[in-house]
Symmetry: C2
């Protein structure tokens, strides 16, 4: 729903700052950094190979790392934040967010990084800033099952949301999902690897329109297609 | 993506059979039962209160259990299947399902029931057969976090898919998600309870059109609205 990983966002903002100059970095990033600040953060980067990664996933990862060498692509790091969230700034984005302060929140983990290696979402996202697109390599583990033998549609929707969020954040900074429209063409076999190609199609004021397709590693099988609408959060609101 | 819990489906099919007569039951259920058969099944019903349920969730649960007394509503049981799936029948629904047979599959768990009590998806679905609608009571735990303090959009999409699937299955039996279109209006606070009201809007051949809204317990806050298209799986295909 919201591009939520501090490390990933910082990487994107740092990239924008490098390319767009220090003035832009300063104007956009101060509120966003406060917005996503946490008291306790786990800084391990989870978007790197681990022993659960299949041969397909490792091979694709290596191919994209190769593409990163000339700077046209960049791998986005990914954290599993286990923060106790206290940011007052975030509340200003919503009229009545009813933030829950309790025991449960202290156990909070990013949904897509809360599983043990290989059991849930194994993924890495690569970003091409010039082409305004991302590629997400995703291996869905056995704890993401829907119908036996296949991924749950909600797990696919989740990864599409994450991939879209990364794509929109390239141009939008801190963004929030307003709409997800997903066509499920074929079920995705459990434990297989799929590739989610996302593209920023249009930018209208604070609205970012994105689209994606979910394909097999050999690109022959189209599993899903989707469009998304993201809203750039207004930094002015967070500084009030 | 696919209404996947054996126990839940059996309950729905049994309900249909009871109301529509034994002939219909026999014609519809034989393929479906083969489709969802598992070698090893865990039969515990997870759609019942546990110590992690909040006061709000327990209160709503009690209210709907009261509504079940006259038979107008029915609570749908829910299982966490840990099966090693061997059904050949399911393959006939897809041209090339590429079922993965490996170590990973033996660990398979239903996505929405794979978390420890209170950490992930806590939910129960009630069905009103005459009105073709369902109500899903959902408490999203700390492992479903997106932006700190709020549920991940993918977790909401997942529960909408599950709620839709149950609603479509009332009339459709074994169904599969073809489209999900979700408007996210406001972020859902982590560990809070929301109510997903789903409705079957239209039935056209094998197509089932559903819609829902996601609201706070007091119904004052609208978090999301969505529509869905489900396809009834053709029993003839599974019997070839």
């Amino acid at each position: 729903m919201l591009r939520s990983c501090t490390a990933g966002l910082r990487s994107l903002w740092a990239l924008r700052g490098r390319r767009e100059g220090a003035a832009r970095l300063s104007a956009d990033l101060q509120p966003a950094r406060r917005l996503f600040s946490t008291e306790k953060a786990v800084h391990k980067d989870w978007a790197l190979p681990n022993p659960s990664w299949s041969k397909d996933l490792k091979l694709l990862f290596d191919q994209f790392m190769k593409k990163c060498e000339d700077g046209s692509w960049e791998r986005l790091p990914s954290c599993k934040h286990t923060c106790t969230y206290k940011s007052e700034d975030f509340k200003t984005y919503f009229l009545d967010p009813q933030l829950v302060e309790g025991e449960g929140l202290s156990q909070a983990q990013l949904f897509t990084r809360g599983f043990e290696d290989g059991l849930g979402f194994e993924y890495v996202i690569f970003n091409n800033n010039d082409e305004k697109r991302t590629v997400c390599l995703f291996q869905g583990g056995p704890y993401l099952q829907g119908i036996p033998g296949f991924l749950h549609g909600g797990a696919i929707a989740t990864m599409i949301d994450v991939a879209f969020g990364s794509c929109a954040a390239i141009s939008g900074g801190a963004v929030m999902t307003a709409n997800l429209n997903i066509n499920f063409k074929r079920p995705v076999p459990l434990c297989s690897v799929v590739v989610i190609h996302s593209q920023l199609d249009k930018l209208e004021g604070r609205k970012l329109f994105v689209s994606c397709n979910v394909r097999s590693v050999d690109e022959k099988t189209l599993y899903s297609e989707a469009t998304g609408l993201f809203i750039k959060l207004d930094p002015k609101k967070s500084s009030t």
